[in-house]
């Protein structure tokens, strides 16, 4: 039996991954100095780890179709994600109760602006269940009706995945309801990515008139939350 056979692959992995306890690590160091075979096995394990890391240093960015709406960030939308999280904090209720000063100076103004805005809503439809779709439309109607007198409440409904059926003119059971809401300034957005996926499967997608598109539902959600809108997933 060779000396290095005392060490299992699990042990070599743990050594390379920094998971061995100091005592066993020292033992392996000493043994590898004496055994070229063991040393080679360790080198190969390290090399393998480096190879895997190297192979994913640069990964291809997702190919995003160009939507008609301008996006606010680069391919990964990091700034928007920061914004959505800021907005979550700002709209959570706590910040409006004397804690605004706890925010960094550059966000206080944005927070104050958010608090002065009327309550605007983004409703997000992901389900293809007609009842869920109807629930979203009913909720939008309720939100319009419950606005304070003189308050101009803005509402957007964004649909993606199976929820896109809501906005497909040949599929939706609610074209009339959508039209009625549009007349009340409710704006409907379809996820361009979801449309692209359907089209890749050979499905022709025709949207209800006056439906707008954004690249992804997330882009829309993040942008509106950054603007201080309330977000509800239906």
């Amino acid at each position: 039996m060779k000396k290095d056979e005392h060490f299992s692959e699990e042990q070599l992995n743990a050594f390379v991954d920094g998971e061995l306890d100091p005592e066993e690590k020292s033992r392996l160091y000493n043994e590898s100095a004496k055994s070229p075979e063991l040393d080679m096995r360790l080198c190969q394990t390290r090399k393998l780890k480096e190879l895997v890391r190297h192979a994913y240093d640069d990964v291809p960015a997702p190919q995003r179709p160009r939507g008609p709406t301008l996006r606010r960030s680069g391919p990964f939308g990091r700034a928007l994600v920061a914004g959505v999280l800021l907005a979550i904090g700002a709209t959570s209720g706590y910040l409006g109760h004397g804690l605004i000063s706890a925010e960094p100076a550059n966000t206080s103004a944005a927070t104050a602006q958010v608090l002065e805005q009327p309550e605007n809503y983004l409703l997000h439809v992901v389900s293809g269940d007609p009842e869920q779709m109807y629930s979203a439309l009913s909720h939008a109607k309720f939100l319009l009706d419950s606005a304070d007198e003189g308050e101009i409440r803005r509402i957007e409904i964004v649909a993606n995945e199976r929820g896109l059926d809501l906005l497909r003119s040949d599929v939706t059971p609610y074209a009339e309801e959508i039209r009625a809401l549009q007349k009340n300034n409710v704006v409907f957005y379809a996820c361009a990515r979801s449309i692209q996926r359907l089209e890749e499967k050979g499905v022709e997608v025709v949207l209800v008139p006056d439906t707008r598109q954004d690249y992804t539902a997330l882009d829309r959600v993040v942008m509106r939350m950054q603007d201080g809108w309330k977000y509800e997933k239906i």
Partner: protein, 186 residues
């Protein structure tokens, strides 16, 4: 002021920063699991939705990174569950695709490694990439994938053995198993 409120605000700030800093890392991981830019992008978006919608579930910011990657892993499981009800996501092997011939030596190497990773069963692929790309400890990987640490080690072992066969010309004869003492085990 109630202490819970202070903690809540602090946690939201920390989570905000975490997601802000993690999106590209999540994408890289999702890509390494799927080798499909569209799917990887979708998984990351779903993960962010879920993280934002379920942020109250996060009780310990120290575990936030693992929590975020666990959400990503669960999104992948959900994806495969929706695709095929019978096959476990752990057993999925991403189909090997012919990639365009690349001229650069670096790209050839990268393609070769990715092809080898793509051939791994998903369960092994996830462990290998979480350890190698993100440097997660075995205990963290166990948390992310919701499996015992011993399973992490055995999957890592099998995954690396398979990769060695493709990437390094070495004999992979099994060696006698011996208990391993880890410095960090949950």
């Amino acid at each position: 002021m109630p202490k819970s409120i202070i903690l809540g605000i602090s946690q939201r700030r920390a989570l905000r920063k975490l997601v802000e800093n993690s999106r590209e890392r999540l994408y890289r991981m999702a890509y390494a699991w799927t080798h499909d830019p569209h799917l990887a992008d979708d998984l990351v978006q779903q993960s962010i939705y879920k993280a934002l919608n379920n942020q109250k579930q996060l009780k310990d910011m120290g575990a936030a990174e693992a929590w975020l990657f666990r959400i990503l892993s669960n999104c992948l499981k959900d994806h495969y569950r929706a695709k095929r009800d019978v096959v476990s996501a752990d057993d999925v092997v991403i189909a090997d695709e012919v990639t365009p011939e690349q001229n650069t030596e670096k790209q050839q190497l990268v393609d070769k490694v990715r092809r080898a990773v793509r051939k791994l069963p998903m369960a092994q692929c996830q462990v290998v990439t979480l350890v190698d790309l993100e440097g997660f400890t075995y205990a963290s990987v166990a948390e992310i994938l919701e499996i015992p640490v011993g399973t992490v080690m055995s999957r890592l072992c099998r995954g690396r053995r398979a990769l060695k066969e493709h990437l390094i010309d070495v004999g992979t004869a099994a060696t006698p198993r011996r208990s391993t003492t880890l410095k960090r085990v949950k």
